[in-house]
Symmetry: C2
Subunit: 372 residues, 2 copies
């Protein structure tokens, strides 16, 4: 009788962080592709571009002028999605769009305040994360720490999202290496789900382990699995403080997560040696990404941690970073999470183990680095 | 003192069907766009393409040959995401990828069976949904009815997803107008959430209204809102049986929903006059979509209804179709739901009311139709 094989047979895997499922169809990567082809972003850029809104000393679209910065540079987003000051949404305001039904449970609205900033990673127009030095990446982490610390001290802020959209395929509208910060007066849906899961896991296991944490347990389990053999390993690389892996329940083809190996609630508490470890693993992972298809690998990346340092559920949170890259087959052929995925359930075309093994096989030296 | 205004101030709206929130930043549409530009799909196609895998009489990539069909045409997907027969996933199989941790709540897996088919909408290579006649669209609906009926009779099938990916921007790999059917042995995450919400709503309101239904109530509320004035109307068009509207909680810029005005659990029970009404509203909505940016408007569309005709929760389900189109500003500039949206919460750049008003303003005559 035929045995079930993860590499051949369709199955669903459960994501314990979000409480949802992903459909895995590993044989599907064999179908021919006649659909949309992306532009590969491997073109050489100048170190300084006089027309770039983010380069040091340049004027932005609004007329504001950037400092002549030499390291990281944080400034307010000129087109912020949220603002610090605005009126509350009263029942009378809601009546203007929901009429008599303004008080019904079908028309629920909240006014949202906050602030949005841009974090330039480097003055260099051409140097993406994997191309920066460890010292430069450490400086970005220190900048995140200070942004997170300052916003945590603002009582009107309930949640701080640090993230990066890299590449045109991920909606990035300026190639100058930068990330963003959106800080809001409410905890958004995705982190709210994760925190619920982390809390529920803790509560379910606290009687046998007072420090029980879903992600601590997951890291231990993945260490054991890797020790049992390559076939069951989803770890791409690791150092003393962090692990980069393709989660068992990954959705995007080469989705990864950088996760703290010990319970750390946010970047705020990372000491200098931990910062150096995070810089190293970030460089190692993004370098392998670029090497996979020999291109500047697009992705959306974001930090998940305590919503703010003072949040009442902060202790349940476990610092991690998600990387969601769209590419599937090559520098120009991406995965589309569309029809079935939008209406029914995310679906992937290779297993997490296959993706991890391909990323592990990449060199830790960036393909663009001139060989000596 | 300044009043809260939906068109100017950031707010979150709650989606009662999925239980999640969307962040609305209406002023954000003003920012300049220097990012990715799509190819507009307005090119003229031949009525028959000898190299197309879907045209009548042609050979497919696998060598199978299409019938010389003259109406709709259903055939098995040659690269199906799920198969009717495969082994179960035992704990021993799971141990190969999860080792000692195979029984942990962090490594949950289900084997998934099912079948996938393709539904060609018409023998014509060039005619998309808005360009087909009402009679031809009615024939597509009758085909959906029979596919849904047959699969519902198969005891191994728990859920049937009918959907269409239209346009290269939505991952469609063949421009010949077609939809898909993915039928599975388990109810996927998205419809499971919707059914939970519909059930909870019914149970919460059943004591005062034994027929209480979230979507019946929503349709009534939107009728009242529209009667109160254009400003509070999200209805794009309607007829006796169906309403096409931009839901109050829409995520995609021009997201819409076609919803049955009376409680109908699935397409299975639609009589001929109801089929004609559904054809009319589908044509009317997709035609306005094409007219909005004078292009073949890309989208993913799918039917939500009773998972199968015999599903124990079928009575709670209320037939509706979601349309998720990516375009935001023009035929070539789309919305990217990336960084913040993936890590935190979906975000939109115009209100549902603004989107509805722009769609309502479109002509019901397709822009490509030669004027007399
Ligand atoms: O089945 P197709 O058209 O080849 O593929 C398309 O639709 C599928 C179902 O939504 C997606 O999984 C694919 O990513 C997409 O490219
Ligand atoms: O803020 P940017 O870079 O202009 O815009 C990009 O990131 C935002 C946050 O993820 C998204 O809402 C936009 O759709 C995307 O184009």
């Amino acid at each position: 009788e035929e045995e079930f094989s993860f590499a051949d047979h369709s199955h669903r895997r459960f994501n314990p962080l979000t409480g949802s499922w992903v459909l895995c169809s590993p044989h599907r990567a064999k179908r021919p592709w006649l659909g949309q082809v992306e532009e590969a972003s491997s073109e050489q850029r100048p170190t300084y571009d006089p027309t770039c809104f983010l380069c040091p000393g340049n004027k932005r679209a609004t007329g504001a002028q950037n400092d002549c910065y030499t390291s990281t540079y944080v400034f307010p987003n000129d087109y912020a999605a949220v603002h610090a000051e605005q009126p509350d949404c009263s029942t009378e305001s809601l009546a203007l769009v929901a009429g008599e039904n303004a008080s019904s449970d079908l028309f629920r609205v909240e006014s949202t305040r906050g602030q949005c900033s841009v974090v330039c990673f480097s003055p260099r127009h051409d140097a993406t994360l994997p191309e920066l030095s460890l010292g430069e990446i450490s400086q970005i982490i220190r900048t995140w720490q200070s942004v997170y610390g300052n916003l945590s001290a603002d009582p009107s802020i309930a949640y701080i999202q640090l993230f990066e959209n890299k590449g045109a395929a991920m909606g990035c509208s300026n190639p100058h290496p930068h990330g963003q910060v959106w800080a809001l007066s409410a905890v958004p849906s995705e982190p709210a789900k994760e925190i619920e899961s982390l809390k529920a896991y803790h509560q379910a296991h606290a009687s046998t382990n007072p420090n029980a944490c879903l992600l601590c347990a997951y890291v231990r389990a993945e260490e054991e699995n890797a020790a049992a053999g390559e076939q069951s390993s989803r770890i791409v690389l690791q150092n003393e403080s962090f692990m980069a892996l393709v989660p068992f329940w990954a959705t995007w083809p080469f989705e990864t997560m950088i996760v703290a190996k010990r319970h750390v609630t946010s970047i705020a508490s990372l000491s200098e040696p931990r910062i150096a470890d995070l810089a190293e693993i970030t460089q190692g992972l993004t370098c392998r990404y670029d090497n996979l298809f020999q291109c500047s690998f697009p992705y959306s990346m974001g930090l998940h941690q305590a919503p703010t340092a003072a949040h009442p559920d902060a202790a349940y949170c476990h610092f991690h970073m998600h990387f969601y890259p769209p590419l599937l087959r090559s520098a120009t052929v991406r995965k589309f999470l569309v029809g079935f995925e939008m209406m029914a359930e995310p679906q992937r075309d290779l297993t997490a183990e296959q993706a991890a093994s391909r990323l592990r096989a990449q060199s830790s030296i960036h393909y663009k680095k001139p060989s000596l």
